[in-house]
């Protein structure tokens, strides 16, 4: 089995390296995509159009407005006294953030009473929503203690209010999602084409008259492309860290181990698709039909928590969701491998199931 597996891997690598289109697909495309997507996300971070409703019109409120807009993340587009007007601007999309300083803000502040600034974030664009929320939260989080020093017990708290999409975070939040989807796209399509191409060109028949076990053949298709997957992961991580300052708080070993399980899951899904398709075109289409819901229900764009309960339940079957959550937890929050065990378990079970399914279908694919 070892030698047959080696032969399969070597053959697959030789074929791939010779195929210029495959090399572009496997290496150039992901690198370019992470950079393009990354910038797309990064650019949107700046200059969130904001409407300020300063009902207090005090020295204090004006001071906070000035400092809030100092770093350029937020862009002061409108000022009004009317919360209704602000709401209209939010709904029409002219502003993505409304900041409401209630009347009595300065008075409460100076008397040391807890004070509230309301931030209404338009969550329909999650990237902007997150960065706006982060900017406001970050600002008051920092200045809060300082305020407390001047007036002994004065406090400002922000009460963020979101129409939907409550996941507030920085743009860096997006990068693990992009990496997960990138790996998904490449590996699923490559694997789906893998067996379908061998069937269409007739080489599958020749493989099947060898005494190689179906497990060997399926592993021989998974392992080399998992290798390319790791390469893509490394390229994407490097780009994310170097260009976009993505933090890597957790252990890289855990990242690669998780990615290994994920790649088995996506590759075996692709292989399964190719065992049920007759031609390469069918396999491609089948791959696409899987990719679409897998991306939409992954939590990359719309947080899983914001989905209806039944849909949220369905996302447990989605390997992309688990990988993105594991990757986020690991890179951004340094959650240990094991703290996220439900994701890890779901991902592993999915990968195992799909691999076994592909193996059991392999022999049936000729008839």
């Amino acid at each position: 089995m070892r030698r047959a597996l080696n032969a399969l891997i070597q053959k697959e690598l030789r074929q791939t390296v010779r195929d210029r289109r495959m090399m572009v697909l496997l290496i150039a495309v992901p690198t370019i995509q992470i950079i393009v997507f990354g910038f797309a996300v990064d650019l949107e971070v700046d200059r969130v159009p904001t409407v300020v409703v300063d009902q207090d019109r005090s020295v204090e409120s004006r001071r906070h407005v000035r400092r809030l807009f100092a770093d350029g993340t937020l862009h002061l587009r409108y000022q009004t006294q009317d919360t209704q007007e602000a709401e209209r601007l939010l709904i029409s999309g002219q502003a993505n953030l409304a900041l409401i300083f209630p009347s009595g803000f300065q008075r409460d502040q100076l008397c040391g009473r807890p004070t509230q600034v309301q931030a209404v974030v338009d969550g329909s664009d999650p990237n902007r929503g997150r960065s706006a929320g982060a900017a406001v939260g970050g600002y008051f989080g920092q200045v809060g203690p300082m305020l407390r020093i001047a007036p002994p017990s004065g406090r400002v708290s922000v009460e963020p209010k979101l129409s939907f999409n409550p996941g507030l975070d920085t743009a860096k939040f997006m990068l693990p999602g992009i990496i997960g989807v990138l790996l998904l796209l490449i590996t699923t399509i490559v694997a789906a084409m893998g067996l379908a191409r061998e069937r269409q060109t007739g080489t599958l028949e020749q493989l099947m008259v060898t005494p190689m076990a179906p497990t060997t053949v399926i592993l021989g298709k998974i392992l080399p492309f998992a290798g390319f997957g790791f390469l893509d992961l490394s390229l994407a991580l490097t780009a994310a860290v170097v260009i976009f300052d993505m933090p890597t708080r957790g252990s890289l070993i855990a990242v690669y181990a998780t990615a290994g399980i994920y790649l088995v899951a996506t590759l075996s899904t692709g292989l399964f698709i190719s065992t049920i398709s007759r031609t390469q075109q069918q396999a491609f289409l089948g791959g696409f039909l899987f990719l679409l819901p897998a991306v939409l229900l992954s939590g990359m764009l719309t947080p899983v928590r914001a989905m209806p309960a039944w849909l949220e339940l369905a996302t447990w079957l989605n390997p992309v969701r688990h990988f993105i959550e594991l990757l986020r937890a690991n890179l951004l929050a340094d959650a240990g491998f094991l703290e996220r065990w439900p994701n890890l378990l779901a991902l592993s079970l999915y990968g195992l199931f799909m691999t076994v399914l592909s193996i059991s279908r392999y022999r049936k694919t000729l008839e």
């Binding site: 030698r3 047959a4 080696n6 032969a7 399969l8 070597q10 053959k11 030789r14 074929q15 010779r18 195929d19 060109t201 007739g202 080489t203 028949e205 020749q206 493989l207 099947m208 008259v209 060898t210 005494p211 190689m212 076990a213 000729l366 008839e367």
Partner: protein, 311 residues
């Protein structure tokens, strides 16, 4: 002699269509067994069942001592297969294909064996060429090479010479015969009747059924009784009409610009045919007695009214 392939009532249906219909035969070790038939007769379907690529609908087949249903893996280890459609990796060099199959079969000292095969099949000069760029005959040799790497007891060759030039076909058959001499059993399908003469025994497939099975000589004797004459150098259509009407003539078949005339035992002799033709104004005919070919056998089997039944 020992039997290496034994097939009993092997049947394969695709829906309602019966591609292989209760076929029974056996093949001995070292034999060259030819499987003949028109396109769609069920040759490939039979081979694919014997190689474990397709499950039989009914019937039993033992290949190299193993049941193809229960021990498919052992069967696969003992056989080599060359499919009708070229099925090696066109995008890899010749040697990479051989190395891959050497690994897939986990053969001992693969490097040495690959070299042996390159030499045996005269592929040494092509070894670094991309397989897709090889001419037809060379490709087929490579296909055979991959099928022989693991020294199988039996090789199944499905139309190995289809679309190959005559010189390469002769070379290929020389290889097949030398394999057989060394004890490898060769199960080969073809629709070239001249090649079938090289086979020790021949199974004739007609519409999924094994219509005849014997040595080429016995097939000719039994299925094409009487004598055959070849008529040349006259207008083919006119003389065909004249001769078919003659008493004692069983069948007249055109072969190129010539005619093969089959007569009943005790029927007309060559001079009688010549006389008949010149009486009809067709002079100058050259007539000689010939051995019947397998083509004649095939025609007799496909159309039994002209075969032994009519004789």
């Amino acid at each position: 002699m020992n039997t290496v392939i034994e097939v009993r009532d092997l049947t394969r249906r695709f829906g309602d269509f019966v591609a292989v219909d209760r076929v029974s035969f056996h093949v001995e070790k070292g034999e060259i067994f030819g499987y003949l038939g028109a396109n769609g007769a069920g040759k490939s379907t039979t081979i694919r069942m014997l190689c474990g690529l397709l499950a039989p609908t009914e019937g039993v087949a033992m290949v190299a001592g193993h049941d193809i249903r229960d021990d498919a893996r052992k069967v696969r280890a003992a056989i080599g297969y060359m499919s009708q459609k070229f099925s090696l990796y066109l995008d890899l060099p010749v040697r990479a294909n051989l190395e891959f199959y050497a690994g897939a079969y986990e053969i001992e000292s693969p490097r040495k064996r690959v070299q042996e095969i390159l030499e045996l099949l005269d592929l040494e000069v092509h070894r670094d060429q991309i397989t897709g760029a090889l001419p037809g005959g060379t490709r087929q040799r490579l296909g055979l090479g991959c099928a022989l790497l693991h020294r199988p007891e039996i090789v199944f060759l499905d139309e190995p010479t289809a679309g190959v030039d005559p010189a390469s076909r002769r070379d290929f058959w020389r290889l097949i015969r030398s394999l057989s001499r060394e004890g490898t059993t060769v199960f080969v399908t073809t629709h070239y009747m001249d090649e079938a003469e090289y086979c020790q025994r021949i199974g004739l497939m007609v519409d999924g059924r094994l219509a005849a099975l014997d040595t080429p000589r016995a097939l000719k004797r039994d299925l094409v009784p009487g004598r055959m004459f070849r008529v040349s150098n006259v207008d083919e259509r006119a003389s065909r009409a004249v001769l078919s009407g003659m008493s004692g003539v069983v069948d007249v078949q055109p072969f190129g610009t010539r005619l093969h005339v089959r007569v009943r035992p005790g029927g007309p002799e060559a001079p009688d045919l010549g006389k008949q033709l010149s009486q009809a104004g067709l002079s100058g005919a050259e007539i000689e007695e010939i051995e019947p070919t397998l083509e004649d056998v095939f025609l007799a089997v496909v159309d039994p009214t002209k075969g032994s039944a009519a004789a």
